[in-house]
């Protein structure tokens, strides 16, 4: 046995102990709550005491676990695998929390943490519901603690413990023969995935997990309702929780979207990625459940649907975890959760089975007594249309989750299906139809009364908002310049209708606040929520259909041969290369790469990209701004790699968004101070440079009328050069000069072997100059993509308003006597 130096074993042992304690306490709490729930008044008291003490013990242990793991990361105890895998010394303080939830153990711990807090709140406030609800919460805590156990049951490892030591995980590694391995070898960790080094990544997982965790509470109340045969009571008690959960989960999902928008390079807040879908589907069901619960409270209808939606909502939280954590999604997700192998797969399957079985068995037991209203809903009633909306939410949830589950389905039935060519369109074309109906329902349903509504009342209230939104919608369609026709006219029309319906949602709910509710906050929650939801839809529709590629590359093909059909107007390529200090036109901007500055501590580089918009007539500068995207340089055996973080210029009405896709390798990034030397040339001329000469073999003037192969410019000077070095080796080069919409710009070409940059310029009338630049090193350049997202702020604003609406609803329900539990 070697006595190792410098290890901090005590803190890990405390962590190990707390894990076990949390597990056992959850077990005791589940049992005690179960006994208390079924006990009569006399027997109840001792069980109550045990149940509360054991759950609170669990809660304290989980919080303790949190602190212990944080201390291990904070103090850089790299003898622990978790710290070694997920952090490193140079990491900024604020990202230490991201390390925490990068790993699977930390995520489960975060989940258990919120569950513990919610459980403690429930003990205090759920009164007669305490025991059955806390039974469910305790079973949940039991499962979550078991994911952290990491103990062997015969040959199967149950869970993974975050406090394992490197030397126990890799006992054969030679470094552990050395008693001083910590000071000699394991001096630093592997660090945090750079995509997670973003402030959204610090705050969005806790919010998202609070959403996931709180979705358990309405589920627990539903189970409790079935168990205690109180089919009406649970709805009332669960309502504020369901509202809370829908609000927080919605916020968490959109914060995830904000993270994707700001740090992922696919340039958008939503890509129908499995991980995103998996978080949205429970939200859809939760919202459907809230609506059926409301119907039940007002009319007695839709109780069975409420049980179904609320249970299904939580099951989908578990199923999502299963999909995203066990690696069954395999090749389809860009999010890199690693599969934790078979043990977690079965572990999560078991958990899902238990949580499906609970409501099913209890429902079956009491199926005869679940009240059903025989009388039908009237078509003129609010409940009818709310139910339609809930069904629609269910259907869209099913559609999304079936598509997302394709890899899992493949695994089950041995197929090899995948979504084809246009993944986003496959989702969007259905969702745009859903949006139309859903937005219309959201606009109009509130104006219906429960049970029955007279046509006259309906039209008197709906007429004004309908006319106003029709006008706004028409204006948006006519002047909004929405012409996304990539997928045909039908889809474009659907987008326009959806936009109109979403505007209707916004206007109608704003009017409802004033004309029906008279601005009374007490009942305003739902209208505010719907108003925010409508704004989100408008923001989504506009920013998605009007997203504009600024870095349209229509000239990059010149070198590859003029006959290439790529890079034409209907199929622009996305990347543009910018040579240091050489302005290039992009959209309405002249864009210049002005340099870069390194931040050596993190291997981070900031790029200065200058955008100038000039008036086409007066040539005055209308707008000028600098965008500084950054990138991490990752050094490896195969050379340096770039991991890019987008930069953006935010305007109130649109965002210009840039990220770097390629950069010259930084080893060569010496200051490039050389200048172009220009010589006026004609065909057949020769220009000398330090190591040889350039022969102008061909110089032609072309325009789009006489040269159909010309890229999408109005006219051009094209050249064919032969560069001959003093060693007698010849190189071909084809710089050009383009004129597009009155702007002239050069398309430089390089002869890397000779460190030459060649450039054409037209000066005066038909005088062509050849520029030759000899770089001491290789040239400085970057390649980038740039997009514009219009009105994306509506999406963020809508999200915030929607969440506020949920919270207002929750607040007034908690205050109201009707909802007192």
């Amino acid at each position: 046995m070697i006595k190792y130096n410098g290890e901090h074993l005590l803190i890990g042992q405390i962590g190990m102990f707390l894990t076990l304690l949390a597990f056992i306490a959850a077990l005791v709490a589940a049992f005690a709550n179960f006994k208390a729930a079924n006990a009569n008044e006399l027997e109840e008291k001792p069980w109550r005491k045990l149940a509360r003490i054991s759950f609170l013990t669990n809660a304290v242990s989980v919080i303790g676990l949190f602190v212990v793991l944080y201390l291990i990361i904070y103090n850089h105890y790299f003898e622990y695998k978790y710290a070694h895998s997920h952090s490193k010394r140079s990491l900024d303080m604020q990202y230490l929390l991201s390390c925490f939830w990068e790993g699977q153990e930390g995520s489960f711990m975060l989940w258990a943490f919120w569950n513990a807090i919610l459980g403690a709140v429930l003990i205090k406030w759920s009164r007669k519901w305490e025991y059955p609800v806390m039974s469910v919460m305790s079973i949940l805590q039991l499962f979550l603690a078991s994911f952290l156990l990491g103990i062997y049951f015969f040959d199967i490892r149950i869970g993974t413990n975050p406090f394992v030591l490197m030397r126990n995980e890799f006992p054969d590694a030679p470094i552990f023969q050395d008693a001083d391995y910590l000071t000699k070898y394991l001096t630093d960790g592997n660090g945090l995935n750079i995509l997670l080094q973003n402030y959204w990544m610090v705050i969005h997982p806790p919010v998202l997990f609070l959403g996931f965790a709180s979705a358990a509470v309405p589920y627990a109340f539903a189970v409790a309702g079935l168990w205690k045969r109180d089919h009406a009571g649970w709805v009332r008690a669960a309502m504020p929780w369901a509202l809370f959960s829908a609000g927080i989960l919605g916020l968490g999902i959109m914060m995830g979207g904000a993270w994707a928008y700001e740090s992922l390079t696919f340039g958008g807040y939503w890509a129908w990625d499995p991980v995103e879908n998996a978080s949205m589907v429970p939200w859809l069901l939760l919202v459907a459940g809230i609506h059926t619960m409301l119907i039940f409270q007002s009319t007695g209808h839709s109780l069975k649907s409420s049980y179904l939606f609320i249970s299904l909502g939580y099951l989908l939280v578990l199923y999502s975890t299963f999909l995203t954590r066990t690696g069954v999604l395999g090749d389809t997700s860009v999010h890199s959760f690693t599969g934790e192998g078979n043990s977690l797969y079965w572990h999560l399957l078991l958990m899902q089975f238990v949580f499906i079985a609970l409501p099913l068995v209890l429902y079956w037991r009491d199926r005869k007594n679940v009240p059903v209203v025989v009388k039908e809903e009237s078509m003129n009633s609010r409940e009818f249309w709310m139910f339609v909306g809930s069904l629609l939410l269910l259907i869209s949830a099913v559609y999304i989750i079936v598509l997302t589950s394709l890899p899992f389905i493949n695994k089950l039935i041995g197929t090899s299906w995948a979504i084809g060519d246009e993944v986003e369109y496959v989702y969007n074309r259905i969702m745009v139809l859903v949006t139309i109906v859903l937005a219309l329902l959201t606009a109009m349903t509130q104006y219906f009364k429960y049970k029955d509504t007279t046509r006259k009342y309906l039209w008197s209230k709906l007429l004004v908002p309908t006319i106003i939104s029709a006008v706004i919608g028409a204006l948006a369609s006519i002047f909004g310049d929405i012409n996304y026709d990539k997928f045909g006219l039908g889809y474009l029309v659907a987008i326009h209708i959806a936009l109109w319906a979403s505007i209707y949602t916004v206007v109608a709910n704003a009017f409802y606040l004033g004309s029906v509710l008279k601005w009374k906050m007490k009942a305003a929650g739902s209208s505010i929520t719907h108003f925010g939801f409508g704004l989100m839809l408008v923001g989504i529709l506009i920013s998605a259909s009007k997203k504009e590629l600024i870095s349209q590359n229509l000239t990059g093909i010149l070198v590859k041969g003029l006959r290439d059909n790529k890079g034409k107007e209907d199929n622009p390529l996305e990347n543009m290369t910018l040579i240091y200090n050489t302005p290039i036109p992009m959209g309405k901007y002249m864009v210049t790469y002005l340099g870069d500055s390194a931040e050596p501590k993190n291997n981070k580089v900031y790029f200065k990209i200058n955008f100038i918009e000039t008036d086409t007539v007066t040539n005055e500068v209308k707008d000028q701004f600098m965008i500084t995207p950054n990138a991490f340089m990752i050094k490896s055996e195969t050379g340096s790699n770039l991991s890019s973080n987008p930069g953006a210029k935010h305007y109130l009405t649109n965002d210009v968004f840039v990220y770097i896709t390629s950069w010259m390798s930084p080893e060569n990034a010496k200051k490039d101070t050389s200048e172009f030397k220009y010589t006026r040339v004609n065909q057949g001329d020769t220009v000398f440079y330090s190591n040889g000469y350039v022969l102008v073999e061909d110089l032609v003037r072309a325009n789009k009328n006489d040269n159909k192969d010309l890229p999408l410019v109005d006219s051009a000077w094209l050249s064919k050069l032969n560069v001959v070095s003093s060693q007698g080796v010849g190189f071909k080069s084809t710089p050009g000069y383009f004129v597009q919409k009155g702007f002239g710009f050069s398309k430089a070409d390089t002869v890397m072997e000779q460190s030459l940059v060649l450039n054409l310029e037209k000066r005066g009338k038909d005088e062509v100059y050849l520029g030759v630049k000899e770089s001491p090193s290789v040239m400085r350049y970057i390649t980038l993509k740039a997009f514009r997202f219009p009105l994306i702020n509506l999406l963020w604003l809508g999200t915030i308003i929607m969440v506020i609406g949920f919270m207002i609803s929750m607040y007034y329900r908690l205050k109201s006597k009707l909802y007192a539990i």
């Binding site: 090749d331 559609y399 390089t750």
Partner: protein
């Protein structure tokens, strides 16, 4: 029949219709050989980057042209052309999933998903 039942049926019919429209968009995971057999059809090709052959990407000449040789697990290989920038960590990838179709001898790729070795792999420690 109650209205809600009718409604339910309508919705079920609608969702079946929605799922049926998918049939056109379903593609499959393929090897190089089976992708060759389906020339022109959109497939997901699972393969590895052949690191012994050069990867061609010169952003100065054309930032939207990446070409390389991919080898699948059965040993067949094909040239791949991807008209976009070279993805981060491309050379480090263990496996690439390429969405696109065979055009003659070349696989025209529309999207690449890289499977990189998790940087928390154990090899590193074992090597020390």
């Amino acid at each position: 029949m109650k209205k809600t039942h009718v409604l339910g049926l309508v919705f079920i019919a609608a969702s079946i219709a929605a799922l049926l429209t998918l049939m056109d968009d379903i593609s499959t995971y393929d090897s190089v050989e089976s992708a060759r057999r389906k020339e022109g059809k959109f497939v997901h090709l699972i393969a590895k980057l052949d690191t012994t052959k050069p990867v061609i990407y010169d952003p100065l000449k054309d930032p939207n042209y990446l070409s390389f040789i991919a080898v699948d697990s059965l040993g067949s290989s094909t040239e791949v052309v991807y008209r976009n920038a070279k993805p981060t960590d491309f050379e480090k990838s263990q496996r690439v999933v390429m969405k696109g179709s065979m055009k003659g001898e070349v696989f025209e790729c529309k999207e690449i998903i890289l499977k990189c070795p998790s940087k928390y792999t154990d090899e590193k420690v074992a090597k020390l």
